[in-house]
């Protein structure tokens, strides 16, 4: 999916969830970022307090939908990122800057933007995914496993990330492309994990049981 497709879908899904004031603020913020990428450094952090933090999921079209539900805050920030007036290496450098200077919610938005921007930045954003996957913050781990991660993470890193979801409580339903990419090695890792839980007298998480059932 392209930047334009995702942008149109997110904007349509978000609009009914915004107050008139929030909608005007977001429109202006998008325009300013489209005109000057530097504006994102100040506008991106403000999206939560300006657009609202309703956690209920928005209903989006096919291009923007992955496993992870869209909240107002995430959608607003990603819409802003999709306005960045650069591509290729310049875009990758910009996303890098916004990620490393971002709070957890901004980092999450940068990760989520990659599903639409991945074709433009190539593998250059993989270090951001690896950073997110090193944390134990479920908001970041989940956001790193969108389509960009499914397409570009090396097999070993991707399998470790999926297993980590089970450990920290991120449901496997948010992992993009799970059925396509799951292989014999991941099945072995899940089987061993289930065995370890059973040996310790603990429950096997329902997600793991479901994963193994269909394999």
């Amino acid at each position: 999916m392209t930047r334009e497709e995702v942008r149109a879908e997110l904007a349509a899904a978000l609009e009914p969830a915004l107050t008139a004031e929030a909608s005007a603020w977001l429109a202006d913020a998008r325009k300013r970022i489209a005109g000057d990428a530097d504006a994102a450094a100040v506008l991106l952090p403000a999206a939560g307090r300006r657009c609202g933090r309703d956690p209920r999921p928005l209903s989006v079209g096919d291009a923007a939908s992955g496993g992870l539900p869209w909240t107002v805050e995430d959608a607003a920030r990603v819409l802003m990122l999709l306005e960045l007036p650069c591509t290729g290496d310049a875009l990758a450098a910009r996303l890098d800057d916004l990620y490393w200077h971002g709070d957890a919610n901004e980092r999450r938005a940068v990760l989520r933007s990659l599903d639409a921007l991945g074709a433009e930045v190539g593998d250059a954003a993989l270090p951001l995914l690896n950073d997110a996957l090193r944390t134990n913050d479920t908001r970041l781990v989940a956001a790193a496993l969108g389509r960009y991660g499914a397409e570009r993470l090396p097999a070993h890193n991707w399998r470790q990330a999926v297993l980590k979801c089970v450990f920290v409580g991120v449901p496997l339903s948010v992992v993009a492309g799970l059925d396509d990419r799951a292989d014999g090695e991941l099945t072995r890792m899940m089987t061993d994990y289930a065995r370890e839980r059973t040996a310790a007298g603990r429950d096997v998480p329902a997600d793991v049981a479901r994963f193994l059932e269909v394999r």
Binding site: R49, P55, N105, T138, F167, P205
Partner: protein, 284 residues
């Protein structure tokens, strides 16, 4: 009793503390950026610390039903190390973050010329970013340090109602009350203030512009001192409404001036994912 602890260093506390705080009534808090006991020697250490204050720590707090906010600054102690000075250049980006509700802790430690400069520069940042300020008053030579802090605040052009002077006691409360600034008190097991002395101060000066905190950190301290103070107030004849004002409405009013407080109950981060709880998993 609902409690907002306006000054507590949760980075240094355990999850047991979060559980006990929730049980005692704590639902929101502010964690000011300060030093960590071991002096830092590079800007990178500050970046990781600040990132934790707007990243991992609010995530941890939310798992226990507590809203976490923070203040950001180069603290006076480390302002004296030239290797840490470039932290001032990082602050403008952090001061725009959602969870950052004030500039702080700024002020004096040893009252050096370096501290003077860094204090004044950060008050200017507060004006620029439209944020209130948390001023730490020094432990040594406290009365003189408090007087000088009030002078610097006056010269900065910040309205007094946007500034709190913290760690006050019987000797320093009067000059701050007269200045129009907010008055902060840290209730400690054996230094600073205790809950009964706090009650005596509230009797004399009233409950307006008063903030009571535990300032709990890595030293001997107690994150439940806010609750103990509330109990001591009730035992001394204050009403539940007085307690609510001091322990909840006052900090909400002061930090609310940032326009960035979030006070509804946090969602367990696991509920982002259809009711699965993050707490059930084993740490990876």
């Amino acid at each position: 009793m609902r409690i907002f602890d306006p000054h507590i260093h949760m980075t240094s506390r355990t999850t047991d503390d979060y559980e006990r705080m929730y049980e005692a009534g704590v639902r929101a808090l502010v964690e000011p950026a300060f030093w960590l006991g071991q002096p830092r020697t590079s800007v990178g250490s500050f970046v990781d610390y600040f990132d934790g204050l707007v990243g991992w720590e609010p995530f941890r707090a939310a798992q226990f039903g507590i809203r976490h906010h923070c203040t950001m600054a180069l603290n006076p102690k480390e302002a004296n190390d030239p290797r840490c000075r470039p932290v001032l250049e990082l602050l403008p980006r952090y001061l725009e973050k959602d969870g950052v509700v004030a500039v702080g802790e700024v002020g004096y430690d040893s009252m050096t010329p370096e501290e003077d400069e860094v204090f004044a520069q950060q008050l200017a940042l507060a004006l620029e970013h439209d944020l209130p300020v948390l001023v730490h008053t020094p432990h040594r030579d406290k009365a003189e340090g408090t007087r000088r802090s009030l002078d610097v605040v006056r010269e900065s052009g910040l309205p007094p109602e946007r500034v709190v002077l913290d760690h006050l006691n019987e000797v320093t409360v009067k000059m701050v009350a007269e200045s129009g600034c907010w008055m902060g008190f840290s209730i400690y097991p054996d230094t600073k203030m205790d809950e009964d002395r706090m009650v005596a101060i509230l009797r004399e000066y009233g409950t307006e512009r008063m903030l009571v905190n535990s300032a709990a950190d890595w030293g001997r301290s107690d994150p439940l001192k806010t609750r103990r103070t509330g109990d001591a107030m009730l035992a001394a004849g204050f009403t539940e409404d007085d307690v609510d004002r001091v322990l909840w409405r006052n900090p909400v009013e002061f930090y609310g001036q940032s326009g960035r407080l979030t006070l509804d109950a946090p969602l367990d981060p696991g509920t982002l994912f259809e009711g699965n709880s993050v707490l059930r998993g084993t740490p990876a």
